[in-house]
């Protein structure tokens, strides 16, 4: 317990420091241990205790977990590091390595070691990591001589961000990152990293997945230094420092948060027909709930290299129907599904990052599923968030891009009684959900519509105003090889239909206020009269 408290305090202190200072000096160097044989030996022990499983005994990034990770663990022997404050192709500074170890790398398996290791331990492991690359000992490669200058930061302003947008277009950042920054600029998925592995262009709107951090001062370094080992070049020769600060401000403004407050999708009530189309302005009146997703790692085949890690959901309803809009980013539109390429049996319980499944466009469909319990209960009891249970089934509304492409209704209704059993498709007459999806600029927007209530309460969810109805999400990105149980999923959230406030309620409020007023007036009069009597 003591141990945890200590960690928490040091973590808070470090976070506070990091927020105050530039990344180059984000951590005080006061507690930095000396770099000598003794500290190297200690660093080695930490490495073999913590890092070896991914980065390998030889530091070549070939640890036992490596095959399951995308991006693959860094090969520490090549002196090539992505997140630095030094020029392209140069070694990282000690502080760069220390920051990467401490903060972890968002969007990868590299954890935030500041939560587990002390500052002293992290420095020691950095010293040991440097021994894998002989160039660290060569004065010609001393990274301190190649630090990218960040001398005059431009504070964030709308004006600066607007200039940054111009530079984003001029420097053709959108050719890879997409016009809206969703990583959808490339028409094909041919980009590779320096090791020959397929590489996904970073979605700049997902601030939490920017590896080096999402503050302007972090982003500034990414296109100034380039991201070594990837096609992301350094723009230090083609953009001035001022231009790069504007660009950093623009990109930091693109980046959003992963979660919104609360766990309830508040369905907004509206008069007239619900919008069938995802672009209808009527959706603007419905509040958005962001729902984070994770890889499906509960049942074999387990999958952790998901591409969709958040959906935005909102809902509208009228007297008869409810419509749910689900929005998520996906750089490639996949509208076919080749069942023969589905993988039925796996050798390992986790799916390997490369080789096990076809991770390329036009093999599997993109798809989303909404999941609701069938039985409504008043207490906290809910079915298991992963496909329910035998005694507590779930109702699933599954939208499929390939069905839409074929011009048929793109939504199907299923029931599930646990992940061990295949989804049961409901018979034709029970298929009542309508689906409609559109893909634009690296984003799917899908609307699923059904009547609030129907006759099939044994298999279907029933909506009634004022009730919290559990809802969960499954998403498949076809070009990421996802199909079957290889998918991303959320745990339970809730959807609530705002109970509309009857007009009589306002009237009663006024009546009660008047009555209270009258009573008080009478009481005051009464007590004054009494006093006079005395």
């Amino acid at each position: 317990m003591h141990y945890k408290l200590g960690n928490l305090i040091s973590m808070l202190a470090l976070t506070a420091l990091a927020a105050l200072l530039w990344p180059g000096q984000a951590f005080s160097q006061g507690n930095r241990p000396p770099e000598n044989e003794a500290t190297l030996a200690e660093g080695k022990v930490i490495y073999f205790d913590r890092c070896v499983y991914c980065h390998g005994e030889l530091g070549d990034g070939n640890g036992p977990a490596a095959d399951f990770l995308d991006p693959r663990p860094r090969d520490l022997t090549m002196g090539m590091f992505k997140i630095r404050t030094t020029e392209s192709g140069q070694l990282p500074r000690d502080i760069d390595l220390f920051n990467a170890v401490s903060r972890g790398l968002s969007g990868t398996a590299m954890p935030r070691w500041e939560l587990t290791l002390s500052e002293d331990q992290r420095w020691k492991v950095v010293y040991f990591i440097k021994t894998f690359t002989p160039e660290f000992a060569d004065p010609d490669f001393n990274p301190e001589n190649f630090v990218v200058k960040a001398s005059s930061p431009i504070p964030f302003s709308e004006d600066s961000a607007a200039k940054g947008r111009e530079i984003f277009l001029k420097a053709k950042c959108w050719e890879c990152h997409g016009k809206q920054g969703r990583g959808d600029g490339q028409k094909s998925d041919t980009l590779q990293d320096g090791w020959g592995f397929k590489l996904r262009v970073r979605n700049l709107t997902r601030g939490w997945s920017l590896k080096g951090g999402n503050r302007p001062e972090d982003i500034f370094y990414r296109f100034s230094t380039g991201v070594d080992g990837t096609p992301m070049p350094s723009f230090i020769k083609t953009l001035s420092e001022e231009e790069r600060w504007h660009l950093a401000n623009y990109i930091s403004a693109l980046a959003s948060d992963k979660e919104s407050e609360g766990v309830v999708i508040k369905a907004a009530s509206m008069e007239g027909d619900l919008p069938e189309n995802a672009d209808d302005p009527a959706w603007d009146s419905a509040p958005v709930l962001k729902v984070p997703l994770t890889g499906q790692v509960l049942a074999q085949p387990r999958w952790q290299n998901i591409s969709v890690d958040m959906v935005e959901a909102r809902a509208l309803y009228n007297g008869q129907d409810i419509a749910v809009l689900v929005v998520w980013d996906d750089p490639f539109k996949d509208t076919v599904h080749d069942e023969s390429q589905e993988i039925k049996e796996f050798q390992t319980t986790y799916v390997k990052a490369f080789g096990d499944i076809p991770r390329k466009p036009n093999v599997f469909r993109d798809s989303v599923a909404l999941q609701f319990p069938v039985k409504m209960r008043d207490g906290a009891r809910k079915p298991h968030f992963f496909r329910g249970e035998t005694s507590d089934p779930v109702n699933m509304w599954v939208w499929k891009s390939d069905l839409q492409e074929q011009g048929v209704n793109s939504a199907e209704e299923f029931n599930a009684k646990g992940f061990q059993k295949p989804l049961a498709l409901q018979p034709g007459e029970s298929q009542q959900v309508k689906g409609m999806g559109t893909w634009k600029d690296g984003q799917w927007r899908v609307v699923l519509t059904r009547s609030l209530k129907n006759e099939d309460s044994r298999n279907d969810v029933q909506f009634e105003p004022g009730r919290l109805i559990p809802i969960a999400f499954n998403v498949w990105d076809g070009s990421n090889g996802e199909h079957g149980l290889i998918m991303s999923l959320s745990d339970w959230r809730f959807i609530a239909l705002e109970a509309s406030i009857p007009g009589s309620l306002y009237l009663w409020t006024i009546v009660v206020m008047l009555m209270v007023g009258l009573a008080e007036w009478w009481f005051v009069r009464y007590s004054r009269n009494k006093r006079k009597e005395i």
Binding site: D49, E57, G89, E175, G194, D228, G229, P231, P233, T238
Partner: protein
């Protein structure tokens, strides 16, 4: 975590690493000593392609104004009689011999959205100036196993200068431009001066070789590598005619 509490497994891994570290050879910075070669021999020959592998031009998909409508595909250059150009021929394991006959400075150009020359032999510690002779921006992106890595955008008319001490190891450096996906070139950083590249008719020659038995490595970017053995006799010319199989 202290030593006594370490598990046996961790310890054994540690020990094995220490052993591996002691046994492994030093990084590929094989030093080469220059000196006089008396009574050296030479190696001549030609390389052919077995099978067929003619390359169609690559259609240019963007920036046509600067790049033209198509560029030649130089990943496999086949001449008359199936001769192969741009094959690297290097004699391995010579640590002492003739003086470097490669210059200390090189120019590598980007012209009409192609690298020129397509394959270039350089020596360790060489200076390289990578020019951009086009009217569009390029990014000079090198991919190598720790030999030399850079990825910088270069504006039209500007150049990227690689300083003297940046390339120290010998090895293969692939150069790409991610803005124009068809662009690709190679720098071969020589281990010793006994290296050559086949010309347009597939011929090569290496001179002043100290007599002895050697392994010769042939390398072509698409066909991979091949190791041959040769014996060089003093004052004589040995011949090596090889063929590489189409893939």
């Amino acid at each position: 975590m202290s030593f006594p509490s370490m598990q046996f497994k961790t310890l054994s891994v540690l020990v094995s690493l220490l052993l591996a570290g002691a046994l492994s050879t030093a990084p590929a910075m094989a030093s080469y000593t220059e000196g006089a070669v008396s009574n050296g021999g030479s190696l001549k020959g030609s390389v052919k392609l077995s099978g067929s592998g003619a390359n169609a031009n690559i259609k240019v998909t963007k920036d046509q104004a600067a790049c033209g409508d198509s560029v030649s595909n130089d990943t496999l250059v086949v001449g008359k009689g199936n001769t192969l150009a741009n094959v690297i021929v290097e004699i391995q394991g010579i640590s002492k011999g003739k003086k470097w006959d490669l210059p200390a400075k090189f120019t590598y150009d980007q012209k009409k959205c192609a690298f020129a020359p397509h394959v270039m032999i350089i020596r360790p510690k060489a200076e390289v100036e990578v020019k951009n002779s086009d009217s569009v921006k390029h990014n000079v992106h090198t991919i190598s196993k720790g030999v030399f890595n850079v990825n910088k955008t270069v504006a039209p008319g500007k150049s990227l200068k690689v300083k003297k001490n940046k390339i120290k190891k010998s090895g293969t450096v692939k150069v790409v431009c991610d803005l124009h996906s068809w662009m690709g070139g190679w720098w071969i950083v020589a281990e010793n001066p006994y290296i050559a590249m086949t010309d347009a008719s597939g011929n090569f020659e290496i001179k002043d070789i100290p007599p002895g038995k050697y392994k010769v490595r042939l390398w072509q970017e698409k066909l991979g590598e091949q190791i041959q053995e040769v014996e060089i006799k003093g004052g004589a010319a040995a011949t090596l005619n090889a063929s590489m199989a189409a893939k």
